[in-house]
Each structure stands twice: as structure tokens, then as C-alpha cells.
Amino acid sequence: MKEILKNLDKAFENKIRLGIMSALMVNDFLDFNSLKELLQVTDGNLASHLKSLENSEYIIVQKEFQNRKPNTKYLATSVGKLAFTKHIKAIELLLK
């Protein structure tokens, strides 16, 4: 039991961070607006959760310009993907 709980990730206790990570697991990348539309949250709220995931190195940010407008892409890192998979496995074990 202790072993399982160890794999539960604090970063994914928050629903929005969990949602961001779920979406990034199945997409090569997503931009800020797609994530906002998907999760139905405010700009500030989303930005702060993205920042926290970035700080734990679960996602990386790529800034580029599209038709002279800044476009920010978010990608899941391999560290982030591994942590997410472990987290889901832990949840599934707990539910058994």
C-alpha cells in the first residue's frame, strides 16, 4: 500500500493539471488556446498551472511566431509522461 501511494504524484492532485497532462499525453503538442477551450478555465488559472507543470519539468514550452503573432506550444516531456503513467497505474491499483 505504501509503495502504491508513493507513486501517486502531488502534481496531479489538481484537476486542471491532471487535465492538461491527459491532453498532452495523446497530442504531440497543444497551444494555449486549445488547452483553454478544452479545460474551460481562465487565462490566469491555466497559466499558473502550466507554470507549475513546467517547473516540475513535466512539460516544456515552445514559443514561436505564426503570422507574426506569438504562439505558445506545450509538450509533455518523457519525465512527465512517465510520472503520469505511474500516477494512473497507482490509481488503478488503489481502486482494485
Binding site: K15, V26, I91, L95
Partner: protein, 205 residues
């Protein structure tokens, strides 16, 4: 956290994964409309191809350059009407789901649908202009089915079995080559209507 919270988490993960990759605004009603237009189109095509013929004699499809033009007009009209209905109804559903109708999921689905569809369309036109009109119904059914199977990864999962059904009908139509129009009406008409109603009821579009 208790089990209930974990279950909710899992549910949310699934929903986010599906919503971020799949085009969920596809309207079931648009299938019903497309199916009805296809049936009307098939009926008009039947009238065009089998006109001026004795009921009791063996009926042969007569294609002149004039009827060919009429057929192409019917086909284009059916396609345009179906697309317009599909776009309008899906836009309405997207509004209800609070997502943009034209998002990356929609783009991905359409690109994957149109690659086989475009290839099949060109091939059918080549056969048509070389006089092999019998090949048009089976080819359009098969390639449309392949397009649907290909696109189903990016939209509602029912589309996959609809695609497989279209492919089977297309292969049957290739064997029973004289009954192309009937298979065509079944595939593009009846199947669309049946699937449209099922999806409308399931997703309450």
C-alpha cells in the same frame, strides 16, 4: 482522497484524452440529412439512366454524354447539400458543447477522411470517362468506407463500423456489378440514415 474521487479523476482523464483528439461535434442528424439526399439523388440517377425503356425488357444502363452530365450534376448536388447540412448541424452541436467547430480535431478528421476519398473520387472519374460506369458505385463505396475507417480515430468511434459496412457493401457491389445503384442507395442512403438516428439518440445531438 477516497475511491470516488479517484474514479472521477480517471473519468476526467478519459474525457480530456478523447476531447483533445476527437472531433465530437459530428452531428447524427447530418447523417440523416445526407442519407435522405443520397436516396433522392439515387432515385434521380435511376430515372436518368433507365429512361425510355420498356418495362418488360432487360434493362441496360444507357449512358450518353448528355446523361453523363446529368449524373455528374446530381452527384455534385447531393454532395454539396450533404456537406452544407453536415457543416451547419455540426456547428450547432459545437456551440452546444462549447467548443469551436473548426478546431485542430476537425481538421485532423477531415484530412484523414479526404485522403482515401480523394483518391477514390479521381479513380472513379477515370473509370467513368473510360466507359466503365459499373465500377463507379463499388469504388465510391469502398473508398468512402476506407476514408471513414481512417477518420474514425479522430471522431466518434461508431464511424469505424459504418466505414467497414460501406467497404463490405462496396465489395458486394463489385461482384453484383449490375446492381450498383441499389448498393449505392443502401450505402450512402439507408446506412447514413440508420447510423444518423443511432448517433443522434446516443449523443443527443
Amino acid at each position: 482522497m477516497n475511491n470516488q474521487a479517484y474514479l472521477e479523476d480517471l473519468k476526467m482523464i478519459k474525457e480530456m484524452m478523447s476531447r483533445s483528439t476527437r472531433f465530437i461535434s459530428l452531428s447524427g442528424l447530418s447523417g440523416v440529412f445526407a442519407g435522405s439526399f443520397a436516396l433522392i439523388g439515387a432515385f434521380l440517377a435511376y430515372k436518368t439512366v433507365y429512361s425510355n425503356q420498356d418495362y418488360l425488357q432487360f434493362r441496360k444502363a444507357v449512358i450518353t454524354s448528355e446523361t453523363l452530365t446529368t449524373l455528374l450534376v446530381i452527384a455534385t448536388g447531393t454532395l454539396v447539400l450533404s456537406l452544407v447540412a453536415g457543416i451547419l448541424l455540426s456547428r450547432r452541436k459545437a456551440k452546444k458543447n462549447m467548443v469551436k467547430p473548426w478546431n485542430s480535431q476537425a481538421k485532423r478528421m477531415l484530412i484523414n477522411l479526404f485522403i482515401p476519398l480523394f483518391a477514390g473520387g479521381i479513380l472513379s472519374l477515370i473509370f467513368l470517362f473510360k466507359g466503365y460506369i459499373g465500377m463507379v458505385a463499388p469504388l465510391t463505396l469502398i473508398f468512402y468506407g476506407l476514408g471513414l475507417v481512417n477518420a474514425s480515430k479522430y471522431t466518434l468511434t461508431e464511424i469505424r463500423s459504418l466505414g467497414i459496412a460501406e467497404i463490405i457493401l462496396g465489395l458486394l457491389a463489385a461482384h453484383f456489378i449490375g446492381y450498383g445503384l441499389i448498393f449505392w442507395a443502401l450505402g450512402f442512403g439507408i446506412l447514413h440514415i440508420v447510423y444518423g438516428i443511432i448517433m443522434h439518440l446516443k449523443y443527443k445531438s
